[in-house]
């Protein structure tokens, strides 16, 4: 039988399509488990996991913590505010200190792109920390692999096979780690992907990843089976990329009126947090074709699958 090909999950880019399939098929079993009266299994009872969050998070942090607890792992949480990071400690020192407390896995969110990959490489140099497994919970504008996996899983659960599906990723593609991980993941699974947004928010070379580019929301909606709406990441924007949020909402915001023109249902996704009235209106976000809350539920199952499969790569 197959096992996952990697020790760390730093991004979707270095996973094989078999890895993605294995994670998604394992997540099916975990979804059944988290819908039982007793939602806990003992698989990771001898594993200790540290959640290192150097950047704000609600969903991802809670989702990882729940996934870890439902696998019976011991969990410690760390956030950079109120820690020694503000006293000048480096990332590698922080990680080494946490690992010295006999921690097996690190789930990390960091504002810098490549932070998870950097940590995975650096820790190999320290014999006492080389065993540790790193899971990227979002690194700046780079990747957010578990989000892409849960998005793929949600598409699979609500629309069936991913291969051949037409998926549109709409919004701030430039600053979105969700967009990049989703593109890698969906392409590996055989979906067609279009990115849509204002020209200033589409990276110049994104077409080299095999995606189509559109600046017209209506055309994109007419084409797609699934629309994944992204938030405008104002906190990462140093420049003005469009005149106003109001103008952005007018051209790229998803409304009931625009969907009604299509005469066929499309599946609506959003990784959260939602800015209601900007990229998506409330009536669309809360409609029957929106699977936004299913994505959140599936997130726990997919993260359980990732933790389980990675932990299975190590020996007791």
């Amino acid at each position: 039988m197959e096992s996952i090909s990697t020790q760390h999950l730093t991004g979707i880019k270095n996973l094989t399509s078999q890895d993605v399939e294995l994670i998604l098929s394992t997540a099916v079993q975990f979804k059944e488990i988290i819908n039982r009266p007793i939602k806990k299994v003992p698989s990771l009872r001898d594993v200790t996991i540290a959640n290192l969050f150097f950047e704000n998070s609600t969903r991802t942090k809670l989702s990882f913590e729940l996934a870890e607890k439902r696998l019976s792992a011991d969990v410690i949480n760390f956030s950079s505010s109120g820690s020694s990071v503000s006293k000048g400690e480096t990332l590698v020192d922080t990680a080494n200190n946490i690992l010295a407390m006999k921690v097996d896995m690190i789930v990390m969110r960091h504002p810098y792109p490549g932070a998870a990959l950097f940590l995975a490489r650096e820790l190999k140099k320290y014999p006492k920390s080389a065993h540790a497994q790193i899971i990227n919970a979002g690194d700046g504008t780079h990747e957010h692999p578990t989000q892409a996996l849960l998005d793929a899983f949600s598409i699979q659960q609500s629309c069936g096979d991913i291969a051949g599906k037409k998926v549109a990723i709409i919004g701030d593609i430039m600053h979105s780690r969700v967009a990049l991980s989703n593109i890698y993941c969906l392409k590996k699974m055989g979906a067609e992907v279009t990115v849509c947004g204002p020209p200033t928010l589409i990276p110049k070379y994104i077409a080299s990843l095999g995606v189509k580019i559109s600046h017209n929301l209506m055309e994109t909606l007419k084409w797609c089976d699934v629309a994944n709406m992204l938030r405008i990441q104002l906190e990462r924007q140093q420049l003005k990329y469009f005149p106003s949020l109001r103008e952005y909402a007018l051209h790229f915001g998803l409304t009931k009126k625009k969907l009604n023109v299509l005469n066929r249902p499309i599946t609506i996704m959003h990784p959260g947090p939602i800015n209601r009235g900007v990229e998506i209106t409330s009536d669309v976000a809360d409609s029957g074709h929106s699977i936004i809350l299913e994505q959140v539920e599936n997130g726990v199952a997919v993260r359980m699958a990732v933790l389980y499969l990675l932990a299975g790569k190590t020996q007791f």
């Binding site: 059944e32 007793i38 003992p42 499969l309 007791f316």
Partner: protein, 182 residues
């Protein structure tokens, strides 16, 4: 490998019939009893037992579920091969029910230990019994024994007992493989 046929298709089906009648002796109409097959290999036997019981008793509503025990195993991270889960399909609560666990081969007893752990997620059963097609003697690592046994085999650790099913391998038979000493 030296191969010995323990049960052929005819004997295997006679054995399944006998196991069904033994179950009926104790559980009558199965009003308070549920059948739980253990994934992955116990399912072929539990499918047959369920089907045959429905035929004999003339009812289709005997409760039957499939249990995957992967996440309750005690050898996770202690073996080289990965443990890949199968489907669990139990759409009822087993609270206060008589549970009959069904597996093909009883060997070390560790699968059944995990199954006993896993089944508690669906409620507290009144009692749990174990039905196996083949009981391998001399190799138990835990204090586990079956209540209904198809056949008992004296097999040492180096030998392999393989139950084959028409649905999977094309033939119903039970084989004993013995490695040939060089």
């Amino acid at each position: 490998m030296d191969t010995k046929l323990l049960l052929d298709s005819r004997h295997l089906n006679i054995t399944i019939d006998r196991l069904c009648y033994q179950l009926i002796e104790n559980h009558h109409q199965f009003d308070h009893t549920v059948l739980i097959g253990v994934q992955p290999r116990g399912i072929f036997l539990s499918n047959r037992i369920h089907k045959r019981l429905c035929e004999i008793l003339g009812r289709q509503d005997i409760k039957y579920g499939k249990l995957d025990i992967t996440f309750f195993r005690d050898d996770f991270r202690r073996r080289d091969e990965p443990l890949i889960p199968s489907e669990t399909d139990i759409d009822f609560i087993i609270e206060d029910k008589n549970v009959v666990l069904i597996d093909d081969v009883l060997y070390t007893g560790r699968t059944i230990r995990a199954a006993l752990d896993a089944i508690l997620a669906f409620g507290r059963p009144r009692n749990v019994e174990l039905l196996v097609l083949v009981d391998r003697k001399f190799s138990r690592q835990l204090p586990v024994q079956a209540d209904y046994i198809g056949d008992t085999v004296d097999a040492i650790t180096s030998q392999i007992v393989k139950v084959q099913w028409a649905e999977q391998e094309g033939t119903d038979q039970v084989l004993l493989y013995t490695p040939i000493k060089s």
